[in-house]
């Protein structure tokens, strides 16, 4: 599903987190929002997910105005920076949460919930951890469980806030590959936030470079490397 962002702005009190920004994300793309902290990338992601509401501007999902949709109605799979797994639930219960939260009419039977959880555990290649609690998992495992939990609701898009931020370099490389594979297999439009230019360049089809609440440049990784639109982009993307 394609996402259109039209003149979106966000003001927190007296600070302008986002100047009016416009962006077009094609269906099925894997997009990186790249920028230093305070560049507005997380605000933009949270607005897409319905966790923040814009001061002005519109968001369109698949051509339909989604600006006023509540977070529940968006059906966006969201992976949080520190994963935000439910500590008091097992991995299986975490993954099943979104299915069990559905209205009775749309809720799958318990057997079906179990089947889907098992399938998702297979997808993240951790088939045997269903009965464990989040604090019994490694950082990389937690990230993958958070991904499975977000995928369980059959989301219309996947939004990830610094998905690799809390991991060490080796695990990060593996999981990058994992995200790419899951993206390719599900075909979901995927937007992730990162401050790591290498990560953005290696993983994304489309990189959106942000700074101070503005879009500095939007383009394919190679194009951004070859033709940086500003000094900021040149310096920030030169590793």
């Amino acid at each position: 599903m394609n996402i259109e962002i039209e003149e979106l702005a966000k003001v927190f009190g007296t600070t302008r987190a986002l100047h009016p920004v416009s962006l077009s994300i094609p269906s099925g793309a894997l997009v990186a929002l790249l920028g230093p902290s305070g560049s507005g990338k997380t605000t933009l992601l949270r607005i897409l997910g319905g966790l923040e509401f814009p001061t002005s501007g519109r968001v369109l999902f698949g051509g339909q105005d989604a600006t006023g949709l509540s977070v529940q109605e968006r059906r966006a799979g969201f992976v949080f920076q520190s994963y935000a797994l439910f500590k008091h639930m097992t991995v299986s219960e975490n993954i099943a949460y979104g299915l069990r939260a559905r209205k009775r009419r749309e809720r799958p039977a318990e057997a079906e919930v179990g089947r889907r959880v098992a399938k998702l555990l297979d997808l993240i290649q951790l088939p045997d951890i269903g009965t464990r609690y989040p604090n019994q998992l490694s950082g990389g495992q937690r990230q993958r469980v958070a991904l499975a939990r977000a995928l369980a609701i059959e989301p219309r898009m996947l939004l990830l806030d610094e998905p690799f931020g809390a991991l060490d370099a080796k695990v990060r490389k593996e999981l990058r590959q994992g995200l790419r594979e899951i993206h390719d297999r599900t075909g979901l439009t995927t937007v992730f936030v990162t401050h790591d230019q290498e990560e953005a360049m290696e993983l994304a089809d489309l990189v959106v470079v942000m700074s101070m609440g503005r879009l500095e440049q939007v383009g394919k990784p190679d194009d951004i490397r070859a033709k940086p639109a500003s000094d900021f982009v040149r310096v920030f993307t030169a590793a």
């Binding site: 529940q72 439910f86 500590k87 008091h88």
Partner: protein, 287 residues
């Protein structure tokens, strides 16, 4: 030789033995003198005329009325303050709004104000000499020297306990888990019951127990507001005082002992719950 060096236990303290014993002795003396001795005295005095004397004291209609009164107060005030405490903590920790600092100060107000002053405020506001109080009495709904006043005084004095216990826990939890639940399609209520409440349940339990102990034990505010009418508005703590002033030592101490046992029971209940859920607590402790 190296083996013996390794296996020798390393003392965790470096002070000379004499100092250590002195300090430990001092601490134990303090505990014995100021904690156990008074508690023991209450029970010893209560049983001065044997079990029969204590049981006779408990059969006094005034004592029974006071016990019923105190239990009723706790049964009403504690659930109300648990709900208000959760609501206040939820508003303060999960939302940003102006006047938040003021609200936090307001929650602490009952701790800062002397309970007697709190009681007096209610008397001034709802007493027979005020317009509002006069109207309420004329319409047969007295608040001061009656049950509603006692409940209000108890609510005021015990309000901070639940909120104060929960707020730090909720701040530490942050909002991410609630936000995750919302993105997964859960409604606000479902999020509260399946995510927020399980995360704060131990702090909530502790707050409720403290709130309960204070609700049953409150003296100052209730003494002023209730008027201490025997058999009608007297609570256990105020009844203890009245018995004592009438030289009914056994009755006073027996009632005091029951009050102390109610407090010990709540603490026991908490320990029991923690012990029964020790495994679960360990497994789900914050990583």
């Amino acid at each position: 030789m190296p083996d013996s060096v390794l296996s020798r236990p390393v003392p965790v303290t470096t002070e000379p033995r004499l100092i250590r014993r002195l300090l430990i002795g001092l601490a134990l003396t303090f505990v014995a003198l100021f904690l156990f001795a008074p508690l023991a005295t209450v029970f010893v005095e209560a049983l001065k005329q044997g079990w029969a004397g204590a049981l006779d004291a408990l059969r006094l209609p005034d004592a029974q009325a006071a016990i019923r009164m105190t239990l009723t107060i706790a049964a009403i005030a504690v659930p109300i303050n648990a709900i208000f405490g959760i609501a206040a903590a939820w508003a303060i920790t999960k939302f940003d709004f102006s006047g938040k600092a003021f609200l936090i100060t307001l929650i602490d107000l009952p701790f800062a104000v002397s309970p007697v002053v709190a009681g007096l405020m209610l008397v001034l506001l709802f007493g027979a000499n005020s317009t509002l109080g006069g109207w309420l009495i004329a319409n047969d709904m007295p608040i001061v020297f009656a049950f509603p006043g006692i409940i209000m005084a108890t609510l005021f004095v015990t309000f901070p306990f639940v909120a104060r216990e929960i707020i730090p826990v909720m701040i530490e939890q942050g909002r991410a888990e609630e936000e995750a639940a919302l993105t997964l399609g859960a409604s606000g209520w479902r999020t509260f019951f399946t995510v927020t409440l399980p995360n704060i349940r131990w702090a909530l339990l502790y707050g409720v127990l403290l709130c309960n102990a204070r609700a049953m034990g409150e003296f100052g505010a209730v003494a002023v507001v209730s008027g201490k009418i025997r058999g009608e508005t007297a609570t256990m703590p105020t009844m203890v005082e009245m018995f004592y002033n009438e030289y009914l030592a056994v009755a006073a101490f027996t009632l005091a002992a029951v009050l102390a046992m109610l407090a010990l029971l709540t603490l026991l209940l908490k320990s029991l719950l923690e012990w029964r859920h020790a495994d679960f607590l360990a497994a789900t402790r914050r990583h």
